[in-house]
Amino acid sequence: MTDLVLPWLGLVMLGLCGTAAMAAVSGDRAAGLGSLVACGAGALAALLHLLAGAPEARLAVPLGLAGRSGLLAIDGVSSLFLLLVMTIGVAASAASLDRHGPPSATAPAFPVFLAGMALTLLAGDGVTLVLGFEAMSLASFILVATDHREETVRKAALLYLGIAGLGAVCLVAALGLMGETGVGFDAIRAHPPRGVRAVAVLVLVLIGAGSKAGLAPLHVWLPPAHAAAPGHVSALMSGAMTKVALYVIVRVLFDLAGAGQPGWFGVPLIAMGLAGAVIGALRANMETDIKAVLACSTVENVGLIAIGLGLAFAARAADLPSLAGLALGAALLHAMGHGVFKGMLFLGAGSILHGAGSRLMERLGGLIRPMPYTACAMLLGAACLAGLPPSAGFAGEWLLFQSVLSGIRLGGLGVQIAICVLAGGMALATALAASAAVRLVGVALLGRPRTPRAAAATESGPPLRWAVILLGLLSLGMGLVPSLVLGLAEPALQHLSQGGMAQRAGLLTLSPHLDGPGYLPLGVALLLGFGVAVIAAVLRARAVAGHRTGPAWDCGFGAPPPWLPNGDPATQYAGGSFAQPLRRALGVALLDADETVVMPPPDDVAPARFAEHSVDPADRLLFAPAGRLRAVISGLADRMTFLTVRQSLAVLFAALVLFLVVVAVLEQA
């Protein structure tokens, strides 16, 4: 049966391409249905492969550079990520069937996007990997540009494509450094890069794949691009694509570069991860577009995962296989969990956009009543986002914290102090994420509708609901029985770190050390359920039943005017106001945030104005200066190009004389 996995998955990819062709002719529905079927088949294959112990397999395909054939390969790592991608793919395809509005011209790119991700995961050589990666970039760019008439969408698409180009060049270079172009992974493993070359590979992969994963400081494209893309696409981009990029990092650094690399290779991963986690989580508290909030939280979670990966790398090099297994297991568990719940959140956000007509928090509110399914999904997702037990988010973060705490064994005092800072930083990031989650749900879903459009919101259709329910159940399951995920990840862990989690994760418990105490999510859930049941029973027995409704007390705030039967919704806290404490406490230092209040003089009836502004440090410190430098060089280049005829001839003359002088000098020597 295992021989059939790769042909089967190859067929899945072919099917996706066929779906794209079909969609080009007959529209979105074909794209959605075809992708749904193909992704289902793909997920099934990956699952069966993992259950069979993930035996490795290879398959040559007539696809590749310059007459060479490409190689598909599958092992535990690719299979695990493939399962995630295909699962989210199923949900996203289903959700795409619920599209509102006119058919989109970009529908054919959707299956191609899925196929590109699958190809990246199944690549058995560098060229195929890059081919898949780029197909993924290109297709997602097209999808991001779906609503291209909006200026912001075009800007986001440009930023995305530009950074994707940067990543592509770096990735090609990284793979080029590791061996002859087009050579299979086995050959690279046999001769892993050493010394400076390995460092270059590290840097290039971190830029190449890290930019796609959203590692700081290359994360700036995520918020605008995710906000611009349709909901089911951002679900895939955030849930699946960032994980595919992480897979590439794992594949290259852990697998292809071999176990002989120095431990400090983990440090940049950890540093970038921590920076991304804190900045992402803080920005998630500042953004007012719900999809941008979710994208920022993706930056945060990818940062956390990267910390786990970095720790695992350092631990593996320090010959601490059990710690390596723990950290890597934590990273993989959180990656899987995040993929599922972030996919669900983005589907929910898409549903809100369609149902309530806006992505801006300031225009939403009170959606929990008209959109119950969406609201439940968002609530569940927000719990994961905030890392609340017993959600999937908590399980991953708990294991990550455990690996950080165990990471104290990695080195001397300097390393240990760094680990302390890391632990504090991660805690800060998770707490910020919790705040962002509360803000997101509280402002967008709860309270009173801020606009008439939000008051008239409608729930999405059945396909989207089913998609959300699927991801919701999965996320619940992963939260309650995370060992199942770790069980599926066991072949990958064995392959990458020599130390798995099998000994430490029982059927129900997670524990950081062999036969030590751990975390029993099902137990916590049972206790919680028990508590609720007891409370309900006591209340039933001892308290007065039922309740009355009345206007909100609000410290005796004035009665609403007759034309605002629900009170003035503008008096509620909105995104900006909710963020104010954090903006003042942390935003000023980290995001260069400022607030401008324009208060009219006492007699003036003009409205008071408030504006706030913040900049991502990556923008301020990296991209803006780089842009200015680019402009300066462009100006110089233009001056070198737009010359008069005489000046052009002078340049030619100078070049000629220069060459002659060089020749003369070299010949004399």
């Binding site: 696809l63 310059a66 291209h148 180009g165 770096c170 190009t641 001839l649 340049v651 030619l652």
Partner: protein, 481 residues
């Protein structure tokens, strides 16, 4: 061993040029051009079966390959020109007389280019390129606008000097070969030179190389000798921009590649790679940064041609396995760039301007055109499944394995250039179109078909290159060394 076919390739367009001089009907003229270029292309397809070298004609894999490519682009451009010129006449941009001039000059240009490629004699190559240059200058000046005339003058003067330098290089090369080959035609023949290169005089070879590199480098648009290219591309008729970008650069690059091969086999000569790489890299970087400030679409893509020509030159300078990649790059770029220029020409006709400010939002107004154009631009930006991805990946891989630091510079150029292309792709295709209504009928598939053929070929070359094509290109790369 050499039949009549190789002669037929350049002769078909040249004969058509003579014939066209007598035909005043524009429509008929266009069909004659199509027939002649078609015949030339068909004859060029026979080239692989008639490989060999004569006194005047050299058909090896390299020349056959580039000749087929040039003849093919000439053919599709002629197909495209038919409707383009008809529309230009209809809109009053050209009169019938100039249309005739256009066809004549275009055929002359194409014929001499093919002759330059297939000639086995440096002198003939030089003369043919000179003639091609003059006809190109005239055709660039054809729109008779002040800008066009000035662009063609600039083109002419710079390329004239360049061509002069190339002649000097040719003489010195002959001089260098004299002791090995003795006086006579042999010392000017590519094949004999390639054989006798080890016995040539190294110091003279160096001198010849400097002049040939700068002379033909001017034609190849390599920085810092590229001053003529943006204006000539921007102001000339669009079909010509397509061919200028596609084939003139190739012919010049092929000559440089052959000279490089001669230098390589001589132990006394200096290494030819570094200067070629330096000029290639400078072109890439300069053009990549220059792309950003452009407001004129054709000028923009001319800069992109400089960049791509630089990439190919860089690969040729790198040598070894990179020559194959460079050839592939050249081939694919020719196809992609002419497709893009064809689309830009159609768009410019629809909007009556070639400025980006007036060309935006094509996806809304002319969907098929916009999609074709977008595919072309993505191809040039080096994204899969298009062939430039493959060639750039091979070049990048080869560079980083051999000279990692240069790979950083090349990568920088590709990223900066790719970003600019992405920006312009978005300006051109996405967004809302300008309020002014487009001119004339919407673009129909007949106008776009040549571009589609090009793009299909590029996809084939990028994604799944047939073994035979790969072997063929490898032979061509081998032929230069």
């Amino acid at each position: 061993m050499i039949g009549f076919e190789p002669w037929l390739v350049p002769l078909a367009p040249l004969a058509a040029a003579l014939l066209l001089g007598l035909v005043s009907d524009a429509a008929l003229g266009a069909w004659i051009a199509i027939a002649a270029t078609g015949a030339g292309f068909a004859a060029s397809l026979l080239l692989p079966s008639t490989m060999g070298a004569g006194t005047y004609i050299l058909v090896d894999a390299l020349s056959a390959h580039v000749a087929m490519l040039t003849a093919f682009v000439g053919f599709t451009t002629a197909l495209y020109s038919r409707r383009y010129i008809a529309r230009a006449i209809a809109s009053g941009a050209l009169d019938a007389g100039r249309a005739r001039e256009y066809h004549v000059l275009f055929m002359t240009f194409l014929g001499f280019m093919l002759l330059a490629l297939l000639s086995n004699n440096l002198g003939v190559t030089w003369v043919a390129l000179e003639a091609a240059t003059i006809s190109a200058v005239l055709v660039v000046g054809l729109p008779r606008t002040a800008n066009a005339i000035e662009a063609s003058w600039k083109y002419f003067l710079l390329c004239g000097v360049g061509i002069g330098l190339a002649l000097f290089g040719t003489v010195v090369l002959y001089l260098a070969a004299l002791p090995a080959l003795g006086p006579g035609y042999d010392a000017m023949s590519w094949t004999a030179l390639a054989h006798a290169a080890p016995q040539c005089r190294g110091t003279l070879l160096n001198l010849a190389f400097v002049f040939l590199l700068l002379g033909y480098g001017t034609k190849a648009g390599l920085a810092p000798l590229h001053g003529w290219m943006p204006d000539a591309h921007a102001e000339g008729p669009t079909p010509v921009s397509a061919v200028l970008s596609g084939s003139v650069l190739n012919v010049a690059l092929v000559v440089i590649l052959r000279v490089r091969g001669i230098m390589d086999s001589n132990a006394d000569a200096l290494a030819p790679g570094p200067p070629i790489m330096a000029m290639g890299l400078l072109s890439v970087l300069l053009a990549a940064f220059s792309l950003w400030g452009r407001r004129d679409a054709k000028r923009f893509f001319a800069f992109s041609s400089i960049e791509q020509s630089g990439v190919a030159a860089f690969a040729f300078g790198l040598g070894g396995a990179a020559v194959f990649a460079g050839l592939l790059h050249m081939t694919v770029h020719t196809l992609a760039k002419s497709a893009v220029f064809q689309c830009i020409g159609l768009a410019a006709q629809r909007r009556g301007s070639q400025l980006f400010a007036h060309l935006g939002g094509l996806l809304v107004s002319d969907r098929a055109l916009a999609l074709t154009l977008a595919a072309g631009i993505l191809a040039i930006a080096g994204l899969p499944p298009f062939g430039l991805f493959a060639s750039e990946m091979l070049i990048m891989g080869e560079t980083i394995r051999r000279i990692p630091l240069l790979a950083a510079a090349l990568g920088l150029g590709l990223v900066v250039g790719g970003w600019a292309l992405a920006a312009r792709l978005i300006t051109l295709c996405l967004g809302a179109p300008p309020a002014t209504p487009p001119i004339g009928q919407p673009t129909i598939w007949v106008s776009l078909a040549p571009a589609w053929i090009h793009l299909a070929l590029i996809v084939m070359l990028g994604l799944a290159m047939p073994q035979a094509v790969q072997a063929w290109l490898a032979t061509a790369a081998q032929a230069s060394q």
